[in-house]
Symmetry: C2
Subunit: 345 residues, 2 copies
């Protein structure tokens, strides 16, 4: 089945959901250009989400996608949190932040029936998940709306698991990808594969369409994905500098600097490995510090440092999510990125 | 300049040098099929090397390549070696090996004037280096023979460095590649990029031809490399199961098993990160144990364990080098692999 037939889009190009860096504005621009625009829900409360869904569902040019995380929230571990606060203590002191007043909230909510209640009236044409899939009853509920269901796989095992559970297409997330690794059957980072190795293995093993993600930034890399047998591509980083994205000033600055040539997987900003441009906090704490609590509990303790640093125009404490190829990050409309990525298809 | 014009080959496909798994037999088969066959010198003494060079230089169908490492040998660090032997002690006990009798030799020699003395009479058409380049006088000597000089880059910085020092083409070694990472300007593994992200950045920045390596295993991945702008490809893993390779029985067995789906970078077998199929020693010691001494000093202490295990048909202690896509490892002549990889060019 053609990916465009499955999704109902004109072009087999998906804009990757990027919580914190975009909302309906970018998604709409992508949809209008013939791609699949995505709305990340992880960082929105129910009211903002409803507003964004209203904006998105007004689109008349084609389908759109809503993305949700589906992790199992961890138990709060007081000792681990203490260790994390201790690791960050020198920075609290540097910025004059009262360490005792730093909150320890969760930050990101997994998909739930409460979230499904908000989505249901809008019957999203496509729903994509990250970190596996929600519980069977929740997945059934989403499918009952007629939504096409996507999720990311980082290994052959994950791809087979997703197909078995009934996803309509699999996003093959290669190691080059920016943001959170979608890995969910293992925590072992050595299992993670480059896009060029991952995509053909999934294409050979699956019956459902495979969407290549990770390092897809321009016409050449999209053509490479096609040569690997992918039915379409998903790109994120290439949209971060678009005027329709809500990427912060420090993030945009980093994307355009030489620093963008060095990204790393880090657990510092959320507790799960995610790829971002290496900055001061990653350099000084190490990218995968043992003190970082489980996802998403690492977030809250870093948030006040991030806010304080950003108010001084510094991205030293911000998650500067980016993939391993930022060379096409420039001031261009999202429609141009979509057109470029669709060329080879 | 076309890569085939530079190399003098019929096809822009290079068989990656794989010390320990092949000699002149595989290289000759590749040359006869129109590709560039490579002879790894790292594991050969001067006499074996001369024999192999005689065999290779008899080839009348085209040029051939000799590969050498050019690391700086480390100082022996007695304390580090003690820690390494201690980490391996339980395994020595398991196999009844006298730990005090285990040698602590170097294992692999870097390129030197002595090695150049052996090469010079044969005037190798192509010489490729790993871990950077030899000292300027040595490089000059190699170039004086008219040899085309190649080396591997794993980052944009390394690629620029190599071009500046005068290499004729750069091998872009993506993270998917099996065997030793060619990294030489940094030890930081987070700098290492997937092939899909690395190749286009090198193609955009360099004037010399770029050869894609890492995850190149079949016609689709070779076509992807071409789409990324590569002038040619280098593949290793795809040749490991060929009858002309000298791949060990335990290695061949691992390549054909489900275990081959999980490779990792490990310093266990040499001291430098190299990608191999995860086996018992890697699982139990961790893939990057702090006790492993600097390259190539880790090798000697593991060698007797490897020999003992292999004599029992076990690859638990062997370096099972492989890239992240072993799906094309099968009983086929090297000529078939070359033909397949050359298809898209």
């Amino acid at each position: 089945m053609l990916l465009t037939d499955l999704l109902g889009t004109r072009l087999p190009v998906i804009q990757a959901p990027m919580a914190g860096s975009q909302g309906s504005r970018l998604a709409l621009a992508v949809c209008e250009a013939g791609g699949l625009g995505s709305l990340p829900t992880a960082a929105l409360g129910p009211e903002r989400l409803e507003e964004e869904l209203k904006a998105l569902s007004r689109v008349s040019t084609g389908p759109w996608n809503v993305n949700a995380f589906c992790h199992t929230p961890p138990e709060q571990d007081a000792e681990q949190l203490r260790a994390w606060h201790k690791a960050l203590a020198p920075y609290y002191a540097e910025f004059g932040i009262d360490a005792d007043a730093v909150p320890s909230g969760a930050g990101r909510e997994p998909f739930s029936h409460a979230l499904a209640d908000v989505l249901e009236p809008f019957r999203p044409p496509v729903v994509s998940f990250h970190f596996g899939l929600p519980a069977p009853d929740l997945l059934k509920r989403v499918k009952s709306w007629g939504s096409v269901v996507l999720s990311s796989a980082t290994t052959l095992e994950e791809a087979r698991w997703l197909e078995e559970k009934g996803v309509d297409a699999v996003i093959a997330q290669g190691l080059e990808a920016g943001g959170h690794r979608g890995m969910f059957l293992t925590h072992d980072l050595t299992t993670q594969m480059g896009t060029l190795a991952l995509v053909p293995q999934l294409v050979a093993a699956l019956r459902v369409p495979v969407i290549a993600a990770g390092g897809i930034a321009d016409a050449g890399s999209a053509a490479a994905a096609r040569a690997l047998g992918a039915d379409g591509v998903q790109a994120g980083t290439a949209f971060l500098y678009c005027p329709e994205a809500d990427t912060s000033a420090v993030h945009r600055q980093a994307l355009q600097s030489d620093a963008a040539r060095h990204t790393a997987l880090t657990t510092i900003f959320s507790g799960r490995p995610a790829r971002g441009i290496v900055n001061r906090l990653m350099r000084e704490l190490g990218t995968l510090p043992p003190e970082a609590p489980a996802f998403p509990l690492a977030t809250a303790a870093v948030a006040p440092l991030r806010a304080a640093a950003e108010s001084r125009d510094s991205g030293d404490f911000s998650p500067l999510w980016a993939g391993q190829n930022t060379s096409n990050c420039r001031q261009q409309p999202a429609a141009d990125v979509i057109r470029t990525l669709a060329e080879p298809f």
